[in-house]
Structure formats: C-alpha cells, structure tokens
C-alpha cells in the first residue's frame, strides 16, 4: 500500500512538473513571439518614407509597454485589447448619441411645419429650448435617479461608480425604485464611462421631452413649458427610465417573479416614446384645444400647417437620427452580441418603410388621397414601434410591426381627435403614445430568441423570446410595463401639469392665441416679411367669440 501511494505521489509530482514546464515553455514561446514581432516592426526610417497602403501603420510598436526594459509583454497586449474593446464601444455609443441629438432638429421642423405660420417662432423655440431645459435638469438630478444604480455594464468599462440604487424589499424580493449616484456628475461619477452613458441617455431623455411640445403647440405658455420640461427631465422620465433601464423593478420582473426577461425595451418605445406621448396627452388634456379646432356640435376643423416641406424633411432627419437611437442602444460595437447592430439598423429601416406604406395606403384608400402629413407620421409610427423590439426581432417581424403601426397611427389620430376631443396639432399622442405602447407590446409577441447580448438580458439567462416563439410570460412582463406607463407615468404627468396649471397657468391668453404666439411670447415673428393669408371663416368666428 505504501509503495503504491509513493508511486502515485511520484506520478503526481512528475505531472505537475511537466505541466509547469509546458506552461513555462508556452510563456517563453509567447515572449519570443512578441520579441520577434517587435523586431520586425517598421523602423523610424521606414516610417519616414510614408505609408500609402497602410501596411506599416498600427503595429506592435503602438502597444504601450508597462516596462521599457522588458519590452512588450502578453500583459501589455491583453491590456491593449481590453482598451480597444472599450474604446470601440465608447466611440460607437458617442457617435450614436450625436445622431440622436440631431433628431432635435427633425422634431423642430416637423412640429413647426405642422403649425400655423403665426406660431412658427414659438414652436421652433420650444424645440430649441427643451434641449437646454432637459439637459440641465438631467445633469442636476435626473441622471442620478435614472442611472445612479446602473453599475455592471461591461460594454463601457463596468460603470462601477454608479452603485447606488434605492431598493424596496417587498414580499421577500428586492425592487429597485430610483438611483442615488451621479448628481452633477461629480465625485466618483466623474468617470470616462459615466460621461459616455450620460450623453447617450441624456439625448434619449430630450427626445421624450420634445415630443410633448408638439401636442401643446400653438397655445402653450413658454414659461410653463420651460418649468414643465425641467420637471419632466428631472423626475418623470428618469423614474420610469430607472425602472426599465437603470436596474429598477420593471427590468427585474424576470429574475424576481419569473416573467420572461423582465420588462424589455431595447431602445425606448416605452421609456422614451410612450413616456413622451402619454405626457403629451396629459398636457393636451389640461391645456385644452386650440380656438376654432372644434365646433359646437363636436365636429373638428382641420388646421393646416404652414410648411409641409419642413415636415417631410424633418421626418427624414428623424429617420437618420434613428440609426443612432436603435443600433446605438447596444452601447457598443464590440463583444457581447453587439455585432447585431447591422440587424438592428435594417429592422429600423424596414419598420419605417412599412409604416410609411401602411399610412399612405390607409389614407389613399379611405380618404382618396395619399396625405403627406400622415405619410410622415406613418414613417415615424413605424420607427417608434420598432424601437423597443429592434434588438430582438427578425426583419419579417420588423416589417409587420411597422405596418401595423402605420395603420394604428391613422386610426389613433382620428380616435383622439373625434372621440376623445383632444386637440393634438402634430399627432404626437398617436405617433409616440399609441405606437410606443404597440412597440412595447410587440416585444412580447415577436422577439424571436436569436439575439445574444452576452448570454443574458436583465439578469436572466438566454435570449428574449416572445409569445409567437414560445414564451407567453414575456408578454405579461410587457403588459405590466404598459400598465405602468399608463397608470403611473400618465397619471403622474397629468397631476403635475394640473398643479402647474393652477399655479402658473398652462395656456396663453385668448388674445395671444388669436394673434399668434410669435410676437406676444417671443417678441418676433418667425417670418417677418410674410403677408399673412386671412384665416378660414370658422376660425375668425371662433377667435372673435373667444376674445369676447
């Protein structure tokens, strides 16, 4: 027995020694490879000859070394690989964010184009100023509420300093409510990764804020718009944003109560568009319809916008910016399934395309003309609807989602105006609210289970899968998200804006509205050299009555 044990021990020692020596040999081989590569790198003399083909630029000589005496080591190379991954993801996320920022111009053109010329300056100014209002509020406190507990994003270096989430423990499970780190981007959150995620999330927030200006255009007091927008950027949007994207309770529905992968919203049909659209509805309800919009019998009058070319060009600017919105939401182009960015971009384009077709066909068949403004809204409806599912669906799913959205927006515009008697000059409630909710729902239906963002989503292993591909529980998670959007976000926005109406008044005076908001509110006409065409008789009668 003792002999056997000794033999066994000797074999184990020999094995360990041989493994050690094999490892040592591999390490020596790697070091030799690195030395050889360093020796073969282009010399300064060679580089001074120029490099038209690019074959000599970007070599082992560009890898920073930690020890000049030792030269390039495997550790140096591994560090550089890690840096490169993060740098690629930083650049991708930032450029995508810049594209989304440019969407502000698109929104401005769409909304102003759909309004009358006497309100052009005011409408453009609301879309211009909302950028500053939202950014400031988000920097103060909004970002902290939304992303203060969002640590753990491997794409951007970990974001470890965003490590404060206020949690409620209920029925034995933890529910994140709001974040606490990142106010003023100071202290430990003065961090390169945090700056990237701040910029990206901020431009999304501003998109939600700017949506509201469209529904309240032509009668929203500029002062109240400013205050309302600041409060929305500071509280309304960030709260829901935390619940969906910041590690909050909605995203944890999967890990906490077994509902699929929790509430899934890839790029924000719910977080951005439905929040914006539902807040737009809340403000439009409080602020009331424009003078002359409805007749005594409840029928509505069309109030033509002044520049359809601005509307359609604005829609294209928005469509271009959406390439930042959806594909950018991977927060990276390297590792963790991020190469799906091409699929996401194509899904986005397709949904916009089928949305356009659906709206044009619906209007052409039911009303006899391919209406330009509804065509633009159809494009936007498709883009809004694909925003949530874009990271999880195939091109067929995307096309269907966009088409349904294109029909839905036409129906919704008519319903909001004719049944609810809510005046929405640009269709913001229907495009962003209705189609945003449809986008959230469609994740629970069309997610096909082929995406793979690092093997898990919202802390649940596997790919997001909807009802049509075998997971009904994902649909339930999406329904809870929709219930939260309507039940919390809308109600919160309604009460907040109701209070603002009591305190400061949401709507301009009747005289100001009749004259047009440009001169009374802004001090200058949008088009000072235009000769204004007389308004239709139903409008002048309504205005005279309102002013009396």
């Amino acid at each position: 027995m003792k002999k056997f044990r000794n033999k066994y021990l000797m074999c184990a020692v020999m094995l360990l020694l041989s493994m050690g020596s094999a490892g040592h040999a591999r390490a020596q081989s790697a070091a030799a490879d690195l030395k050889a590569a360093a020796a073969a790198a282009p010399t300064t003399t060679q580089l001074s000859q120029g490099d038209p083909g690019g074959t000599n630029t970007g070599t082992i000589s560009d890898v920073p070394v930690s020890n000049a005496k030792a030269g390039v080591t495997v550790g140096d190379v591994a560090n550089q690989v890690g840096q490169n991954k993060i740098a690629i993801n930083f650049v991708w996320t930032l450029v995508a964010g810049f594209l989304v920022m440019f969407m502000q111009a698109g929104f401005a053109m769409v909304e102003a184009g759909l309004c009358r010329v006497k309100n052009a300056n005011h409408t453009y100014m609301m879309n211009f100023t909302v950028y500053a209002c939202g950014l400031f509020a988000y920097w103060l406190i909004g970002f902290a509420i939304q992303m203060g507990g969002a640590a753990g994003n491997g794409n951007l270096g970990g974001l470890a300093s965003l490590s404060g989430e206020h949690i409620l423990t209920l029925f034995g499970t933890h529910w994140g409510l709001w974040g606490t780190k990142g106010m003023f981007l100071s202290g430990h959150t003065y961090d390169v990764g945090v700056m990237v995620i701040f910029l990206f999330e901020m431009v999304f927030m501003d998109t939600a804020l700017t949506i509201v200006t469209g529904a309240a255009a032509e009668r929203w007091k500029f002062l109240t718009f400013c205050v309302s927008s600041v409060l929305m950027g500071a509280f309304t949007y960030p709260l829901f944003g935390n619940w969906a994207w910041g590690g909050g309770w909605l995203s944890a529905l999967g890990s906490n109560v077994g509902l699929g992968h929790g509430y899934c919203d890839f790029a924000g049909s719910g977080v951005v568009h439905a929040v914006g659209g539902l807040t737009a509805l809340a403000v439009a309800l409080v602020i009331g319809p424009r003078i002359g919009k409805f007749n005594r019998d409840g029928s509505s009058n069309p109030i033509q916008g002044h520049d359809i070319s601005a509307v359609l060009v604005g829609c294209f600017i928005l469509a271009f910016g959406w390439f930042g919105f959806n594909p950018g939401s991977t927060l990276g182009a390297s590792a963790a399934g991020n190469l799906r960015i091409g699929t996401i971009a194509v899904d986005t384009m397709l949904a916009g395309c089928t949305g356009t077709f659906a709206s044009i066909l619906w209007m052409w068949i039911t009303k006899g003309k391919p209406d330009a403004s509804m065509a633009g809204n159809g494009l936007l409806a498709g883009l809004v609807a694909i925003t949530a599912p874009s990271g999880f669906v195939s091109t067929v799913g995307a096309a269907i989602i966009g088409f349904v959205a294109g029909v839905l927006v036409c129906w919704s515009v008519a319903f909001v105006e004719n049944k609810m008697k809510v005046d929405d000059p640009v269709g913001a409630i229907s495009v962003h609210g209705t189609c945003g909710l449809w986008g959230v729902l469609s994740v629970g239906l069309f997610a096909d289970g082929t995406s793979n963002y690092g093997g898990a989503w919202n802390g649940v292993n596997g790919s997001v899968t909807g009802l049509f591909y075998g997971d009904a529980s994902q649909l339930v998670a999406q329904l809870i998200g929709i219930a939260t959007l309507i039940g919390f976000v809308f109600t919160f926005s309604f009460i907040l804006n109701w209070i603002l109406d009591i305190v400061m008044g949401q709507r301009v005076s009747a005289e100001t509205e009749v004259a047009g908001l440009d001169l009374p509110e802004m001090g200058a006409l949008g088009y000072p050299e235009f000769v204004f065409k007389p308004e239709p008789s139903y409008m002048t009668m309504a205005e005279a009555q309102a002013s009396a």
């Binding site: 400013c226 509902l259 003078i291 219930a483 309507i486 039940g487 919390f488 709507r507 509205e513």
Partner: protein, 129 residues
C-alpha cells in the same frame, strides 16, 4: 400681457432654487447639504409664489373650468388599474392569471384615461358655448 421680465425673473429663481436644492441633496449627509437643501426649497417656494402672483396679469385663456372631482376620479382610475395589474403578480403565479390581471388593470386605467378625463377636461370647453 404675454412674456415679460417678471416671467424671466421667476424662471431664473426657479432654476436657482432647483440647483441649490439638488446641490444640497448631492452633498448629503452633512450640515452643508441640509443647509443647501433648505435654502433651495425656500427659493423654489419663492419662485412658485412669483408664478402665482404674475398669473392673473397674463390675461384670460380660452379654457373653461374643468371639474376637479371628475379629474381626480379619472386619475384615481388610471392609477388604480396599475395597482390591480401589480397586485395580480402576487395573487397568482400562473402566466394566464397574471395576464388576466394585467389586462383587467389596463382596462380600468383606460376607462380613466380615455373616457373620464377627456369628459372632465371638455365639460365646459369653450367650443361648447
């Protein structure tokens, strides 16, 4: 009377109050944080007092009175439906049961949002006069 310098001053005060209050929250815990928060809240209240003061000077909007009770009922229904949907998560563990609760909750919320609140807000609309 539309936009004027009183509006500008009140908005400036509002931004100052909000910034100061947030600075207080950011540096908490500590005496400085509490002090900044209190000062910020005081400035915010002052700004809202200015808003209330200048509101009557801005003319009458073309908006009828909206019954407050009806608006509260609509808001309560809207929020209540959400609570029903959430409650269903703990009442049952079956997917079908949770889906049913979610749909029922949504329906309740939609009654508030689509029926009650528009009726309340349009009850005395100027176009009905």
């Amino acid at each position: 009377m539309a936009a004027n310098n009183s509006q500008g001053r009140s908005f400036g005060l509002f931004l100052t109050g909000l910034t100061t209050a947030c600075a207080g929250i950011a540096v908490m815990p500590g005496g400085l944080g509490v002090a900044l928060l209190i000062v910020g809240l005081v400035i915010l209240v002052a700004s809202f007092a200015m808003f209330i003061k200048i509101k009557p000077l801005e003319g009458k909007p073309a908006l009828g009175a909206q019954p407050a009770v009806m608006k509260l009922v609509g808001s309560a229904l809207s929020a209540g439906g959400w609570i029903v949907a959430l409650f269903g998560l703990h009442l049952t563990s079956s997917v079908g049961g949770r889906m049913a609760f979610a749909i029922i909750g949504l329906a309740i919320s939609l009654v508030g949002v689509v029926v009650i609140l528009p009726s309340a807000c349009n009850k005395n609309a100027i176009w009905k006069a």
